[in-house]
């Protein structure tokens, strides 16, 4: 059963077509990866799903509901959580405050009622905090830096805190934009393990954009390959890896125009 459906999404900025007629499905409880060379439209697709961009054509369905026009906060409330390619933590706040803000979306008391019924709001906050500490901090092994300001943490830990913040949202689908970009081997292995655990122990669906082929092939159930804003292949990691078009897109044919021709030809055939 698919939890997220992207149907024929096209997105352009002025004359630049960032996405052309992209369709994909994310199965519930799977790890789905979107890969592609630089500028292929991966992040544009991600932003169309999380609501930062509004595609000109096509629909995005989440659990069967059309969310194409919903603003990001509404999507967050429905259960889409995400991280960013460049770390987007709230600098100047502690790790705990950052993660608590992730739980913001789960609080039932509104802004004003949290103000008036201090007692109730405080109880709710205490409960959520306890829950976060039990689950997220232990799970991601960041308990020891709970009180640290995030700005001073090493890169790999910042990435982990960002993941913690997204997890605190308890999303139904966790969207990771390049979760291991810029990490060393050890940090990458840790992150891959966490992502697998998120799927296996927490039963969350993971959708990620990633450059690191090794990691994508290791942990993904389903891979989509984008190039020049178009979907050129999809399938199990092994299938995608063997696909000549994917190899060409990644290694390059040495000539962009032949590649474009090839893509055009494929479309005509289809």
């Amino acid at each position: 059963m698919s939890i997220l459906n992207v149907e024929g999404v096209s997105l352009s900025f002025g004359g630049v077509k960032a996405l052309r007629d992209v369709s994909m499905q994310v199965e519930k409880g799977s790890i789905t990866a979107v890969i592609g060379p630089n500028g292929a439209g991966k992040t544009s697709l991600f932003n169309s799903i999380s609501g930062f961009y509004k595609p000109q054509e096509g629909r995005v369905l989440f659990e069967g509901e059309d969310i194409t026009r919903l603003p990001p906060p509404r999507r967050a409330a429905l259960g889409l959580g995400r991280t960013f390619q460049n770390i987007a933590l709230f600098r100047g706040m502690t790790v705990l405050d950052n993660v608590k803000l992730g739980a913001h979306v789960r609080m039932r008391t509104g802004l004003l009622s949290a103000f008036w019924y201090l007692g109730k709001a405080r109880r709710e906050e205490a409960e959520i905090r306890e829950q976060i500490e039990r689950e997220v901090f232990d799970f991601l092994e960041i308990d020891h830096i709970r009180r640290h300001p995030v700005a001073n943490l090493p890169y790999g830990l910042q990435k982990r805190v960002e993941l913690a913040r997204a997890l605190a949202m308890r999303p139904k689908i966790l969207m990771l934009d390049e979760p291991v970009a810029g990490m060393n081997r050890e940090e990458k292995e840790d992150m891959a393990r966490f992502i697998l655990d998120v799927k296996e122990h927490w039963g969350m669906t993971v959708l990620m954009v990633e450059h690191d082929m090794g990691m994508v092939m290791d942990i993904s159930d389903q891979v989509y390959v984008l190039n020049f804003g178009q979907l050129i292949a999809s399938g199990k990691p092994a299938e995608v890896q063997a696909n000549p078009e994917v190899i060409q897109a990644y290694l390059g044919s040495g000539d962009v125009s032949t590649l474009r021709e090839k893509l055009g030809a494929r479309k005509r055939v289809a």
Binding site: S50, F52, P71, P72, P73, A76, A77, G81, R82, F84, A88, L89, F90, R91, G92, M93, D97, L101, G102, H104, V105, M107, L111, L112, A114, F115, A121, R165, M169
Partner: protein, 292 residues
């Protein structure tokens, strides 16, 4: 005796400084949340003072009700400005938005003059009039009480900013808009909230200022000194705004008494220049602020 005089002048300076700090907080609030340099803050303050005047003298409401009405009016003004003028300019060149706020200031002055004429007025007094003595030093009761009120409001605001969920949403938005948006924080609502709170604070400062020195449509010039305060403090620093407000209030009082009234603003702007030369991002500001 000399020291007593110095002490008295200092206290009076701190009184004005409290008002600078209060208005500067309104300014910083808008800047932090929406990255708009709002030059109309002085005029928003003036409108607040006139709303109080209108409610207290025009409708003959009791003073406390008139204050509540003026504060609510100030908040509504903030929301209307944000939704009507600032929101459509989102994403435009910061200098355009900056210029628009200057225009807004003129429009507000014009509107006030249409309704209440350009004549200076005095506000009904609502402060206790018993003289205040701190040790041997005498302090004008209005100055004392307005400082107390400003201090209480500032403290309240800091608590809100720190602990209230709306305040947390504000801080998150100020820190990283994209992330806040993805975390389920309604960023456009936070924009309105920031302008609304700033409007309320500015109106409150206007009432205090007006009750000390009377009101006129030119009260908005107060905003110019507030601009100096926030630049000295560092545009996005609440702490900087507080300290710079007090410092500049005190320096103006000193200059006014010991050098002569014409030196008040001279000293302020000399301080501005020195601070900008030494620390271009203000005393407590973030380094990577985009300068206009």
């Amino acid at each position: 005796m000399e020291w007593l005089f110095f002490f008295e002048v200092s206290l009076a300076g701190l009184g004005t400084g409290g008002l600078y700090a209060l208005t500067a907080i309104a300014f910083v609030l808008i800047y932090k949340a929406t990255r708009v340099i709002n030059l109309a803050i002085g005029e928003m303050l003036m409108v607040g003072a006139y709303l109080f005047f209108g409610a207290a003298a025009g409708w003959a409401l009791p003073w406390w009700l008139a204050i509540i009405a003026a504060l609510i009016g100030g908040g509504i003004l903030g929301i209307v400005l944000e939704r009507g003028v600032i929101r459509p300019l989102l994403g435009e060149n910061p200098i355009s938005v900056f210029m628009v706020t200057i225009g807004l200031g003129s429009i507000l002055v014009g509107m006030v003059e249409l309704i209440w004429t350009a004549n200076p007025r005095s506000l009904p007094n609502f402060f206790p009039t018993d003289p205040i003595f701190i040790g041997d030093a005498f302090l004008a009761p209005k100055t004392f009480w307005s400082f107390v009120v400003a201090a209480v409001v500032i403290a309240l605001f800091l608590l809100l900013f720190r602990f209230w969920r709306g305040g947390v949403a504000l801080r998150a938005t100020a820190s990283d808009q994209g992330a806040a948006y993805a975390m389920g924080i309604n960023v456009p609502a936070v924009y309105s909230l920031a302008w609304c709170l700033a409007g309320v604070i500015a109106a409150g400062a206007g009432i205090l200022l007006g009750s000390i020195g009377g009101i006129s449509s030119e009260m908005g010039f107060f905003g110019l000194t507030v601009l100096v305060v926030v630049i000295v403090g560092g545009l996005d620093s609440v702490l900087g705004a507080l300290l710079a407000g007090i410092l500049i209030g005190w320096m103006e009082a000193m200059a006014g008494v010991y050098l002569g009234g014409e030196y008040e603003h001279l000293v302020t702007f000399i301080l501005l220049m020195v601070v900008l030369l030494l620390r271009p991002y203000g005393l407590f500001g973030t380094r990577e602020i985009e300068r206009l």
